[in-house]
């Protein structure tokens, strides 16, 4: 039987033949929680009567959402999570280490792994060819104890990418455009599988941005095939031996095929309050903003900070703008310091936040005021997302975010690139 990449991985991990529509029980390679969903997961785990983890060394706690904690209740949640790590011997990443999805990509995910996280953007690791998906606390609690979960094998959409990015256009613009085409529920329960000539030029940071937002089209996973770029990334992150060239069969059955030519793309934006409300920047130019935020599991990587630092070199943010930058991990921050990006950004008037989720989810570090507008490089612009239902969030690439921070209004980044 010819298989999609999703069917191939779930066949391997269920030790049988998995085809779209089947329900299978699979081995879980990595299971993780973060600090906003972890406490409930641990309570569910204990309530179930479980004591031991199935795979302590493949279980990870990340303290990234409230990092550092802005409230006593969240500090107490951190204490609960640290105690659980001590009791069970699982791995724990502390406040300041970075965002769970970035650390999973840097240190753990391999092609063909099954990864469960109690966070919807767990799909990010699909960039490495891992069947990585977000689940709720009960499902993750059970996976922690059993080392297994159940899946309905998804049907797949093939996303064929050809051409090269024009100047000023990035992976973020591509994924926003794609979500605009598919719709916020257009790929509900499905797998997105990326292919095409453009992949040969698409490095891991760009793949991570694209896979990260698969869930914004409703998808269960967003999968890239294994290739030289996957292998190079793994070698560069000291786990080259874990590489395996996993890709779909040529005759695999796809529910839909969507072809995109990168040459024709332009800078895109998601307008409030849904991610699929996508328009070219040229149609929205001139909207005043009060805050620009560069960071998150979507666009907080070194390459994103490089784009921002390059555009801001010798320039300043607009005096009425707060420009927030949150590197996705400690490693990203260290490299950005070594390369001089952080100095450029600070000199341009940016505020550097600690590695973590920062302003993305409305807890702290950049909560918006009534009627304020933020241009964010995150993945969600739902009403209330950044802590205030009276505020508006636009989503764009780091280049569009800094170009807009310079002018104080939504600006086409091609004016600066």
């Amino acid at each position: 039987m010819s298989k999609t990449l999703a069917e191939k991985i779930l066949s391997l991990k269920s030790h049988g033949e998995a085809k779209a529509g089947d329900v299978v029980i699979v081995d879980v390679d990595w299971a993780f929680v973060q600090d906003s969903t972890g406490p409930l997961t641990i309570r569910q785990f204990k309530e179930s009567g479980f004591e031991a983890l199935a795979k302590p060394q493949q279980t990870i706690i990340f303290l990234d959402h409230a990092a550092p904690s802005p409230a006593q209740q969240l500090s107490n949640d951190h204490i609960l999570l640290r105690r659980f790590a001590e009791e069970t011997g699982c791995r724990i990443y502390e406040v300041g280490d970075g965002i769970c999805h970035q650390l999973v990509a840097e240190q753990f995910a391999n092609p063909g792994d099954v990864i469960l996280g109690s966070d919807s953007h767990t799909v990010t690791a699909g960039a490495l060819g891992a069947f990585a998906t977000g689940m709720g606390s009960s499902d993750v609690a059970v996976a922690l104890a059993l080392g297994k979960t159940w899946f309905r094998v998804p049907e797949s959409f093939l996303i064929e990418l050809n051409g090269v990015f024009p100047r000023g256009v990035y992976a973020k613009d591509l994924v926003l455009y794609l979500i605009g085409q598919i719709g916020a529920d257009g790929a509900n329960y499905k797998a997105l599988e990326y292919s095409g000539e453009a992949l040969a030029q698409m490095l891991m940071p760009q793949r991570l941005t694209i896979a990260n937002m698969a869930v914004e089209a409703g998808a269960k996973v967003g999968l890239f095939p294994g290739d030289k770029i996957t292998q190079d990334f793994l070698v560069g992150h000291r786990r080259g031996d874990n590489y395996q060239p996993l890709y779909p069969d040529a005759e695999a059955n796809y529910e839909q095929v969507i072809s995109l030519n990168l040459d024709r793309l332009e800078p895109m934006l998601s307008l409030p309050h849904t991610v699929d409300n996508v328009h070219p920047v040229t149609q929205v130019k001139g909207v005043k903003i009060q805050q620009a935020f560069i960071g998150t599991c979507t666009n907080g990587r070194l390459e994103d900070l490089a784009v921002a630092a390059e555009i801001l070199k010798g320039r300043k943010r607009h005096p009425s703008i707060r420009l927030l930058i949150a590197p996705a991990s400690r490693q990203v921050l260290i490299q950005a310091i070594k390369k001089g990006y952080i100095q450029n950004l600070i000199e341009a008037g940016a505020i550097i936040l600690p590695p973590g989720c920062a302003a993305c989810l409305g807890l702290h570090q950049g909560v918006l005021g009534d009627g304020e507008v933020c241009l964010s490089t995150a993945n969600r612009n739902f009403k209330g997302r950044m802590g205030n239902p009276e505020a508006m969030i636009y989503l764009a690439s780091p280049a569009t975010a800094v170009a807009s921070a310079i002018r104080g209004e939504i600006t086409d980044p091609r004016e600066f690139t």
């Binding site: 059993l146 529920d185 509900n188 409703g218 409305g362």
Partner: protein
Amino acid sequence: MISNLVLKGKAIKLGDNISTDDIVPGRFTHLRSNLPELAKHVMEDAMPEFASRVKALSAAGESKAILVAGKNLGLGSSREHAPVVIKMSGVGAILAKSAARIFFRNAINQGIPVLLCDTDKIGNGDELEINLTGGMIANLTSGITLSCSKMPPIMSAILKEGGLIPYIQKHKSFKL
């Protein structure tokens, strides 16, 4: 264990794309280890009167509040707190045209029936009778009967036990 396979209630109608940020906003993350406090903010940004309406309906006796949404209910975050606070508010079942996959699975794991059907055929305040085994909904107000899409048998089994935790306590593992 869900013993009552026929559920009667009145519809509280919401629109399309109700996100988990609408159901349980991120700004209340500090209350997630205090669920009764968190539940006070259920649906606060989408429908401020939601909690009091559910309470009024539940107080009326046999009838329960039924959350009736449009398409893509529960899109966004994986926070299971979303179905938890809906359940705590007193909602007996959820109906939607479609539901985001993590929310759907979380709600079933919390033992809340979620049925997918054409909710355009249900008006705010309509009296409904839901047959959980047959997956049929009788709209007693309009006289229309709606059929629902089927869920995989493992989900029906989890729902029948009242959620994933009771299911695992009973079976110790997943049974296909």
